[in-house]
């Protein structure tokens, strides 16, 4: 009988220890859950709605360099959001025109601010349609520098005198102009 009581007491103790351990486990699990604060709009699965700027870029085989750069610069969420933006999207070929090693250099962690600056120079906040653009018009870009629009007699538009607009792709949160040169922000004011 005494033995039985002892065993019973031991069982109780063990079960308490187990219960406590379980709680510890729970705590760890919820810790993980709370650290993970979820993703932004770029992680929304939606194949039905009109594509936003990031989804358009992701879907283009000619823009893999730009997409990699946006990811490196942490601008994927921003360009998936409400905007509205006008994005001048240089093609892979446009990036290749830069001196050898330029892109690789910009993709290094310590050059993130430079990369952001260049990418911001390709983004205007607002929708600037071709028909609204005027010859000589200056547009403020997200890095606080201006681009200049030139419009030829044939109506063809160039950015900063050299980059041609190859195509215009409307996005749910703005407009993408595919351009054949990378725009390099002016230094100083």
């Amino acid at each position: 009988m005494k033995h039985l009581i002892k065993t019973f007491a031991a069982i109780i103790i063990v079960s308490f220890i187990v219960a406590c351990n379980n709680e510890k486990k729970d705590t760890t699990t919820s810790d993980n859950t709370t650290t993970n604060t979820g993703g932004g709009q770029e992680s929304v699965v939606d194949d039905e709605s009109q594509k936003d700027i990031v989804k358009i870029a992701l879907g283009s085989k000619d823009h893999t360099t730009l997409v990699a750069a946006l990811q490196q610069a942490d601008y994927v969420t921003a360009l998936s959001n409400a905007g509205p933006f006008t994005v001048f999207a240089p093609t892979n070929a446009a990036f290749e025109k830069l001196p050898a090693g330029t892109v690789d250099g910009l993709m290094k962690a310590d050059k993130k601010l430079d990369l952001q600056n260049i990418l911001e120079y390709h983004v205007s906040i607002g929708v600037f349609k071709e028909e609204m653009m005027q010859d000589g018009q200056k547009i403020d870009q997200a890095n606080n520098k201006k681009i200049t629009i030139t419009k030829g007699a044939d109506g063809k538009i160039k950015v900063n005198g050299t980059a041609n607009i190859v195509a215009a792709v409307p996005a749910s949160n703005g407009l993408v102009y595919i351009i054949d040169e990378v725009l390099l922000p002016p230094t100083g004011n």
Partner: protein, 662 residues
């Protein structure tokens, strides 16, 4: 015997150990419901929150009250929009609250709540909020959590840069988003005559320090621009008010492009103490206008609406030292003054930097006349002369800034979807945290006062997509709670909001909950149609009008049988809730009532107007589950044809004699 004692001791020890384990498990158990960062937002059942959080309902026209840190919704206060749930705008007593110079306007777009302040600290007495569409300011009494006053703002359209207060709530301000031809000028002019005919306007409404009643003290006429937000100076800058303005291009179409042409717009600095002097000296022009001023009385439980006809206007062009313009990059939205009152932050939503102005330097610039010309007759201060410094690369799309009690600022970045923490003096960015979705305003409890309670920050986000379960094409907008007690901001909770959360305010619960009214004393009820006891219940015919003096108390109406009402009568049910206990409202509903139900607080009288259109039997009942016999709380109204000679009669508890029953 000895062995037995020893064994006993053993058992005792085992038992004590088990008890110890049990206790240690218990203490963990209370935390296990939410742990890690989330536990900081966890308020256990039966516990109060630390803060009241007043959140604008945006296009819902209302204001919601949440508890922080739990994010639990405590109440939706009807302000500018009707609310059938509470009878707001449907009962005869509340209809006048929504009266305007345009007639009954049963909705608005409510943007920026602001708590009243004393000595620059939130005092928990009232919360003001602006109606953006039909320009109005409302004052909510935090004793009752009800809208106590609504005043319309003349010469305005889109009262956006409102309802911010000075540090002793001397004034609450309004600033027109749309410039328009003034109310006494001909408005029938070509839209592209903006530059000649359209004027801006900021209004200063004085607030009675005891009762809170508002009065338009004066308006300041300005050049035609768009005013966006504003904040009062405090401490050394008390006596000044700062308004952000955009569209200094004076565009009247496609502002998306045309109002972003200039490199800099303005922060407008108003010396309101100077304005007071000018008003005293009679330098203001009396202008004939029409605007509604509506007040609600907790004594008569009724609102009155008065149309006011005159205001005093000060001209910013003619009166010196009244208004100055400080250049601010790219369409500034937020215009925020730090707790010391020395620094003014402008947030140009299209700018890649944020200017921080110094009030001391601003005063020196004014004294030295360090001006860069003028804008329609108003001196423009040299940008550098007023500048403390710029926050470089703060993020994209800076919108609005609040402060903590350690000299730090927190700015929402709409485009780059983040909150950025920076030091006000050093202008160094200290931390940034993603909000994942486009953030609009943010809020720190007391974060726009002299005394912030920098423990939490709430971000109010417009787009949430995968944050919450899908609910069709429209998803809930969202608040995100951050713990800002450490060096690094930490997201601890997402919670959904009503309508669209623009700005918000928060105050420690202790400032407010001790003053909360529990019921209205029946003996102090001065409603003209009050029924102060069941013995006084009656039904009175006055021509086509029938006044029903009806009471409710658990669990019956008195009277509950009413006859003699005819088709086409105007029946007024003046229902007095006789309960004198906290949290015992009664509802009142009639079949086919084409306005709403009533929800009557203990000790209060409210009136439902009903015009019966059909002959028949119309049940009435209590809609608020008041007691075990709530389902028995009901009655009948017999409606007879228009020409009927059924006399008015009413009763409660009268049963027919057995012989009378057929």
């Amino acid at each position: 015997m000895r062995t037995f004692e020893l064994k006993k001791l053993q058992y005792l020890l085992i038992a004590a150990f088990a008890f110890f384990l049990l206790e240690s498990c218990k203490s963990k158990g209370t935390q296990s419901a939410a742990s890690g960062d989330a536990s900081k937002a966890y308020v256990a059942p039966g516990k109060y929150d630390e803060f009241y959080n007043f959140v604008s309902g945006g296009f819902s026209g209302q204001m919601s009250v949440y508890g922080l840190p739990s994010g639990r919704l405590l109440r939706v206060i009807p302000v500018f929009s009707t609310d059938p749930e509470k009878g707001w705008g449907f009962s005869e007593e509340t209809k006048p609250m929504l009266n305007t110079s345009h007639g009954f306007v049963p909705w608005d777009d409510a943007h920026h709540p602001e708590l009243s302040q004393t000595n620059g600290e939130v005092d928990g007495r009232w919360v003001f909020i602006n109606g953006n569409n039909t320009p109005r300011i409302a004052r909510i009494d935090l004793k009752t959590f009800r809208t106590a006053e609504i005043i319309e703002i003349p010469n305005s359209a889109g009262n956006h840069s409102s309802a911010f207060v000075t540090e002793n709530t001397e004034y609450v301000v309004a600033g027109t988003r749309f410039s328009i031809p003034p109310d006494d000028a001909n408005g029938d002019v070509p839209i592209d005559s903006y530059k000649q005919n359209f004027k801006g306007n900021v209004s200063f409404l004085s607030v009675d320090p005891k009762e809170g009643n508002m009065k338009i003290a004066f308006q300041i006429r300005t050049p035609g621009v768009n005013f966006d937000l504003s904040h009062a100076g405090k401490g050394p800058s008390h006596g000044w008010f700062f308004f952000s303005c955009y569209n200094s291009e004076q565009a009247n179409t496609l502002l998306e492009v045309n109002a972003s042409q200039r490199d800099k717009d303005f922060i407008m600095a108003v010396n309101w103490k100077k304005a007071e002097e000018y008003v005293k000296q009679g330098k203001g022009r009396k202008q004939a206008v029409r605007y509604a001023h509506n007040t609600y009385s907790d004594k008569t439980h009724s609102a009155t609406s008065t149309i006011e006809t005159e205001i005093t206007v000060l001209d910013s062009k003619e009166l010196a030292d009244l208004v100055y313009l400080i250049p601010c990059p790219k369409s500034p939205h937020g215009c925020d003054v730090d707790p010391t009152g020395e620094y003014i932050v402008g947030s140009g939503k299209l700018a890649a930097l944020m200017p921080v102005y110094s009030f001391t330097k601003l005063q020196k610039a004014i004294a030295d006349k360090a001006f860069d010309g003028d804008y329609e007759g108003i001196p423009v201060i040299k940008y550098e002369a007023a500048l403390h410094g710029e926050v470089q690369k703060p993020g994209l799309g800076p919108l609005h800034t609040e402060f903590d009690n350690n000299g730090n600022a927190y700015t929402s970045m709409f485009v780059s979807s983040e909150v950025v923490k920076w030091n006000v003096k050093s202008l160094q960015v200290l931390d940034r945290v993603p909000t994942y979705y486009s953030i609009g305003h943010l809020m720190v409890p007391g974060g726009d006062s002299r005394k912030p309670f920098g423990k939490y920050l709430v971000a109010y986000n417009k787009i949430t997509k995968d944050r919450y379960l899908p609910t069709g094409p429209e998803l809930t907008q969202s608040a995100q709670l951050y713990d800002i007690s450490g060096d690094k901001m930490k997201l601890i909770l997402d919670f959904p909001t009503i309508g669209e959360p623009h700005y918000a305010q928060a105050a420690p619960a202790a400032l407010i909950n001790k003053n909360s009214v529990k019921f209205f004393k029946i003996e102090e009820n001065e409603h003209p149609y009050v029924t102060k006891g069941e013995g006084q219940a009656k039904v009175v015919r006055d021509g086509k009008k029938v006044h029903v003096y009806i009471t409710s108390i658990r669990s019956h109406f008195n009277p509950d049988n009413i006859e003699g009402v005819k088709v086409g009568d105007e029946v007024y049910f003046h229902l007095t809730n006789l309960e004198q206990d906290w949290d015992v409202p009664h509802g009142f509903a009639i079949k086919g009532a084409n306005n709403a139900e009533l929800l009557i607080m203990p000790g209060e009288t409210q009136t439902l107007k009903w015009i019966p259109e059909k002959v028949g039997m119309f049940p009435m009942y209590c809609t608020d589950f008041c007691s075990a016999l709530h389902q028995e709380m009901q009655g009948y109204i017999r409606v007879s044809p228009a020409g009927s000679n059924v006399p008015i009669s009413f009763s409660m508890g009268k049963t027919p004699a057995p012989s009378a029953a057929k």
